[in-house]
């Protein structure tokens, strides 16, 4: 074995610790409020606000390029998600759904953005908060439209003969009020978490192999080439998960507003 100089001293295998970057708080200490994660969150929020403000600052009938992009995004949220899933009623939710889509998309995108390379959504708190908002939203609009009794009757009592209802009502309850918010948040969180982990394994694994034995260098290179391929795959996951989260939110709202199932 040749004595190989260490190329990059990084811990391998990657662990959950890698998801908790050190605090950047100027007042020092171990504050969780100012880290790379929260800084990214602020950047994403500011970027979205500034982008739409600038794009719509002087709206023209024949839109310029920036306005066209912003209108396409909103048009997609309105026609592609809100009215398509909810129907004419969905227009009320177009603003929220579009914002939700763009917010998740931008936050997810940090996962493959150079120098950031981790998405805030790989921390469970972020998807959980978004899913909580969805949960409150669809229950609120349902109760507001139908009243408490009719809303719960609509969502808990399926069209079935009375003697199987005791079997079905608990299933409906768990499925609608417990599994929905859980699966909504875990789906987004797990995708972003696993994506980051995968990229770490392939990048750091390359370094680990080349450090262990110089003869493994070709495999290290293969590992890094695969990292690029996985980054492209990640891009697909990023867009898809933002879309799925928004579409499911719209579908829950639609279900809450529906007259009868």
């Amino acid at each position: 074995m040749i004595d190989q100089p260490t190329i990059l001293a990084a811990e391998f295998p990657p662990s959950v610790e890698d998801f908790f970057p050190p605090s950047l708080a100027p007042w020092g200490g171990d504050s969780p409020w100012v880290t790379r994660i929260t800084v990214m969150l602020w950047i994403a929020t500011a970027a979205i606000i500034i982008f739409f403000l600038v794009a719509y600052r002087k709206p023209k009938i024949v839109p310029g390029r920036l306005q066209w992009i912003a209108e396409s995004i909103y048009g997609f949220g309105r026609n592609g998600i809100a009215t398509e899933m909810i129907g004419h009623d969905g227009l009320r939710f177009a603003g929220y759904l579009t914002t939700l889509f763009v917010f998740i998309l931008v936050n997810n995108f940090f996962a493959i953005l150079p120098f950031f390379q981790i998405s805030p959504n790989s921390h469970f708190a972020f998807p959980a908060t978004l899913a909580t908002l969805t949960y409150i939203l669809f229950n609120y609009v349902g109760i507001r439209k139908h009243g408490v009794v009719k809303y719960f009757k609509n969502s808990l009592v399926p069209p079935a003969p009375w003697y199987i209802l005791p079997l079905l009502i608990p299933i409906e309850f768990i499925s609608t009020f417990l599994i929905r918010p859980f699966s909504l948040s875990v789906r987004l969180f797990a995708n972003m978490f696993a994506g980051h982990m995968l990229l770490l394994v392939f990048t750091l694994g390359g370094f680990a192999m080349i450090n262990a034995n110089g003869l493994l260098a070709p495999i290290s290179v293969l590992s890094w080439v695969l990292t690029i391929a996985i980054t492209l795959l990640e891009f697909l996951v990023i867009v898809l998960q933002a879309y799925v989260f928004t579409v499911l939110t719209a579908s829950y709202v639609q279900g809450a507003l529906a007259e009868e199932h």
Binding site: Y74, G75, R78, T83, H88, L167, P170, I171, I174, S175
Partner: protein, 76 residues
């Protein structure tokens, strides 16, 4: 703001999204069914001191209930 008005007639391809969403609903019914009635069965097991019979029956019943719900709510 874009060229479409909200009263656009539904397009032909618009059942693509509800379909993927129906898949998730179906899955959640199935899981919820097995989970709920499996759990109730397990509680009965603990109460009667039987060893897993009620939990097994519960899980099967729950799965049946889940399938029934999928057919009623999502079928035709």
């Amino acid at each position: 703001m874009t060229g479409h008005s909200p009263s656009d007639p539904p397009r032909d391809d618009d059942d693509r999204v509800p379909n993927s969403n129906q898949g998730m609903t179906a899955l959640s019914y199935l899981i919820a069914g097995i989970l709920v009635w499996g759990l109730i069965g397990w509680l009965i097991d603990r109460w009667l001191g039987t060893r897993g019979i009620a939990a097994g029956i519960g899980a099967v019943l729950g799965a049946a209930g889940g399938v029934y719900l999928i057919v009623r709510r999502l079928g035709g």
